[in-house]
C-alpha cells in the first residue's frame, strides 16, 4: 500500500517538474536550488547544513515526525514559523534558519524528552559504534543524560526470542522506522501500542518475535537508530 502511494506521488512530481522551475531557497543565508516537493531536511543535509534527525526516512511520503529534533525556522512571505524539516516541502523564496537560539532550545527539550525514558548503558550496548543518539549528542555537544527532566526508565521486558535479533524496549526512541520498513516489505508485524508515556513498540498482542512468520530479513534492525533492535552475536541463541 505504501509503495503504491509512493509511485503515485513520484509520477505527480515528474509532471510538476516540466512546468515549474526548480525552487530556490535560502538556507542560513546561502542560496540553494532544490527539486520541487523535496523535503527541507534532505536538501539541507545534501548541501552541507547539519540538522539533527532521528525519525525521518527517505522515500517515505508521510514522515512520522515524532522526534522533533529536525525543527527549523522558516520565513515565507514575511511569516516566520517553526516547522519539522523532515516533513516541510521546499518552497520558492523560502528562507530557512537552521540554528537560531529558539531552535536550539526546542531541539534540546525534544532530545531531553527522548532521553528521559532511555536506558543509557552505552558500555554494554550493541549499537554503541553506530548509535544515532551518540552522534546527535556529540555533534551538538549535548550530554546524553537529560539535565532538566527527570529520568524515568520503565521496567519493560526484553524480547530475545528471535534467533537473529533482540528487542530492548528501554532503548527504543519510538521513531517508527522499523514499523515503516516492515510495512513496506508487506508484513507489518510491528506497531506502537498504548499512548502517551506508556506508548511502546510491540507486536500483535505482545506476541514474541519468534512466533511471527518473520522472514528474518533484519531490515528493522538495520534501520533502528539505537540499541533497541540489535543483532545477536553469532552463536548466541537464547538471551542477548
Amino acid at each position: 500500500m505504501v509503495n503504491g502511494f509512493l509511485n503515485q506521488s513520484r509520477e505527480k512530481l515528474e509532471v510538476v517538474d516540466q512546468e515549474t522551475p526548480m525552487p530556490s531557497l535560502i538556507i542560513d543565508g546561502k542560496e540553494i536550488t532544490a527539486d520541487p516537493g523535496e523535503k527541507l531536511l534532505w536538501v539541507a543535509l545534501r548541501t552541507g547544513f547539519y540538522i539533527p534527525h532521528l525519525c525521518a526516512m527517505k522515500g517515505i511520503e508521510l514522515p512520522f515526525g515524532g522526534c522533533r529534533l529536525c525543527l527549523v525556522e522558516v520565513d515565507i512571505g514575511g511569516r516566520r514559523e517553526v516547522v519539522p524539516a523532515c516533513s516541510e516541502p521546499v518552497r520558492e523564496q523560502m528562507k530557512v534558519y537552521t540554528n537560531t537560539e529558539k531552535i536550539a532550545r526546542l531541539r534540546r527539550t525534544a532530545f531531553e524528552l527522548i532521553m528521559s525514558d532511555h536506558h543509557i548503558d552505552c558500555k554494554n550496548c550493541a549499537k554503541r559504534k553506530t548509535c544515532e543518539l551518540i552522534k546527535i549528542s556529540s555533534s551538538l555537544k549535548w550530554s546524553l543524560r537529560p539535565k532538566k527532566l527527570r529520568s524515568l526508565v520503565r521496567d519493560l521486558p526484553i524480547d530475545s526470542s528471535h534467533p537473529l535479533f533482540t528487542f530492548d524496549p528501554m532503548k527504543c526512541v519510538k521513531c517508527s522506522k522499523c514499523i515503516l520498513v516492515c510495512q513496506r516489505l508487506g508484513h507489518s508485524f510491528l506497531d506502537f501500542a498504548y499512548r502517551g508515556f506508556e506508548m511502546i513498540l510491540t507486536t500483535f498482542d505482545h506476541q514474541p518475535l519468534s512466533s511471527l512468520s518473520c522472514e528474518s530479513c533484519s531490515e528493522c534492525v538495520n534501520v533502528c537508530p539505537t540499541g533497541a533492535l540489535f543483532h545477536k552475536k553469532p552463536g548466541e541463541s537464547e538471551d542477548g
Binding site: A193, R195, T202, T203, F204
Partner: protein, 164 residues
C-alpha cells in the same frame, strides 16, 4: 454460539471500510464484554488490516478492554451529576482498593472497573452499579465495605457449591 461465529455475525453488519473499524470493535465489545486476541484477529482479517495495527488502535483508546470483565463488574457513574458529587473520588477509591486501573480486571477475576455515563438516577448521585444493583449516594468511605460484602458473598456461594 461460539465466539468466532458471534463475531462473524456482528461483522456481517459492516462494510470492510476503514471508517467502520471503530464501530465494529465497539459492537463486538458491547456483545462479548471485551476484545479477545481471537476477536482482534478476526477483525484484522475482515478489514484486511495487519493485526498489529488493530492492536495499536485497541490499546490507544481507553474504551476498549482486552480482558473479560470480572464476576462483579463495577461501573462508576461519571455523568455530570455524579461527577459533581464526587464520582471521580469514588472511582479512585475503587481503583486503590482493588489495585487495578480503570478498564482492568483483578487477578482473581472477581472485579473489574469501568466508568460510565448517566444511569438516569442522578437524584441519588454519585451512583455505582455492580452486577444489576445500584449503590446510591456512594462515598469513598463506603467502597471498602461494598467490596468486602461481595467477596464474602463469593465465599459463601463457593462453599455452598462445594458441598456435595
Amino acid at each position: 454460539m461460539e465466539e468466532s461465529k458471534q463475531i462473524e455475525e456482528i461483522l456481517k453488519g459492516f462494510q470492510p471500510e476503514r471508517e467502520n473499524l471503530l464501530p465494529a470493535l465497539q459492537a463486538i465489545q458491547e456483545h462479548l464484554g471485551y476484545l479477545s486476541r481471537g476477536a482482534m484477529e478476526q477483525v484484522a482479517h475482515f478489514f484486511h488490516l495487519p493485526p498489529s495495527e488493530i492492536f495499536s488502535i485497541v490499546t490507544f483508546y481507553n474504551q476498549f478492554r482486552r480482558t473479560p470483565p470480572g464476576r462483579h463488574p463495577v461501573h462508576v457513574c461519571l455523568g455530570t451529576a455524579c461527577y459533581l458529587m464526587g464520582g471521580d473520588l469514588v472511582l479512585d477509591a475503587f481503583s486503590r482498593e482493588l489495585q487495578i486501573k480503570k478498564g482492568d480486571t483483578t487477578e482473581d477475576g472477581a472485579f473489574s472497573l469501568e466508568s460510565t455515563a448517566c444511569f438516569g438516577c442522578c437524584n441519588v448521585a454519585p451512583v455505582v452499579k455492580i452486577n444489576d444493583q445500584i449503590y446510591p449516594k456512594m462515598t469513598s468511605g463506603k467502597v471498602e465495605e461494598v467490596i468486602i460484602n461481595l467477596r464474602d458473598k463469593d465465599k459463601t456461594d463457593k462453599n455452598n457449591h462445594d458441598e456435595p
